[in-house]
């Protein structure tokens, strides 16, 4: 089981994403933005950060990178792809998911442990959760306000394509409290909060058991391993 973790110039969370993949039990394959070859990976993670300095629009230039064109083609063929934070912005700019992400409504960068509800578990990246399971993982961004046309929003809600929704307060003005989406096929998932920062005791959000004990992000990575093994 090999999971590719992409590094663009300006990516920050590739190390943490790789660590999460290893902790979940898969092998990490580093993928570089200029690569055109996915090196036979079974799934891909687009991590967070500020690819290409957020020039033009967040994720816009990364969406045109050689590795991203290869990922888009493979995703259309069913390859599981997860976009976290800036990775979600890349997926939206690459048109693998609809809508856009704009500056937080309150204009401030936000960093906090965020409560979410998992609203769709029929995807490659969420199948290890229970439907409507409530989880806490870190959220840290300045441009996390999700917007979409009225038509797209209606379709997302009607077809059950909202994968994660913010609970206990909307942190950034996202429409319908949307924190993450899936595509129709369920192989592509994008979310603003960071599951890779909640996978290891001592380093996650504060949990019920002890400080920093929250591991709610791990099931994202366990889900994809399960989906690939069962496929």
């Amino acid at each position: 089981m090999k999971i590719g973790v992409v590094t663009f110039p300006g990516t920050l969370d590739d190390r943490d994403a790789a660590r999460a993949v290893r902790i979940a039990g898969a092998e990490v394959v580093p993928l570089w933005h200029a690569d055109e070859n996915l090196r036979k990976v079974d799934a891909v993670v687009l991590p967070g950060g500020f690819s290409y300095g957020d020039y033009l629009r967040c994720g816009a230039i990364a969406a045109q990178a050689p590795i991203t064109r290869a990922i888009v083609d493979a995703a259309k063929g069913g390859l599981p792809v997860l976009g976290i934070c800036n990775g979600f912005q890349v997926l939206v700019e690459a048109h693998l998911l609809p809508g856009g992400l704009i500056r937080n409504e309150h204009q401030h960068f936000i960093c906090r442990d965020q409560r979410l509800r998992v609203e769709n578990v029929d995807t490659a990246w969420t199948n290890a959760y229970q439907l409507n399971e409530e989880i806490t993982i870190p959220l840290k961004n300045a441009e996390g306000g999700y917007i979409a046309s009225a038509e797209d929003l209606k379709r997302l809600e009607g077809e059950g394509l909202v994968a994660f929704r913010y609970l206990e307060g909307n942190p950034n003005g996202s429409m319908n409290d949307i924190a993450g989406l899936r595509n129709e096929r369920g192989n592509v998932v994008g979310l603003m909060p960071h599951p890779e920062h909640a996978v290891e005791p001592g380093f996650g959000p504060d949990g019920g058991a002890a400080m920093r004990s929250g591991l709610d992000g791990l099931k994202i990575f366990e889900s994809v391993i399960k989906s690939v093994v069962e496929a």
């Binding site: 033009l56 629009r57 816009a60 045109q64 700019e93 609809p98 809508g99 856009g100 704009i102 500056r103 409504e105 204009q107 917007i147 979409a148 046309s149 003005g173």
Partner: protein, 82 residues
């Protein structure tokens, strides 16, 4: 050098945080008459020779597909300058 100028603005009904911050700063400086400020982008595409109709059509395509994101922005103007 001839250039194609592409101007992109955030959609009118969306919050423009940059514009809002600048308007607030101008109010603090005493420019009370200013109602609102909105900030967009001017993108210059430089060419070696005067653009053909085909070049302009190409510019319109990249303006819509790459230089702007139709969900959050509008291309408000494309023109040629010397």
């Amino acid at each position: 050098m001839p250039k194609i100028i592409v101007e992109v603005m955030p959609k009118a009904d969306l919050l423009d945080p940059q514009g809002k911050a600048v308007a607030n700063a101008l109010h603090r400086k005493g420019y009370g008459k200013i109602q609102n400020v909105r900030i967009g982008k001017r993108i210059e595409i430089h060419l070696n020779e005067a653009p053909t109709d085909e070049d302009l059509q190409g510019a319109a395509e990249i303006a819509e597909s790459f230089l702007s994101n139709g969900v959050i922005e509008d291309v408000v103007n494309i023109h040629v300058e010397d």
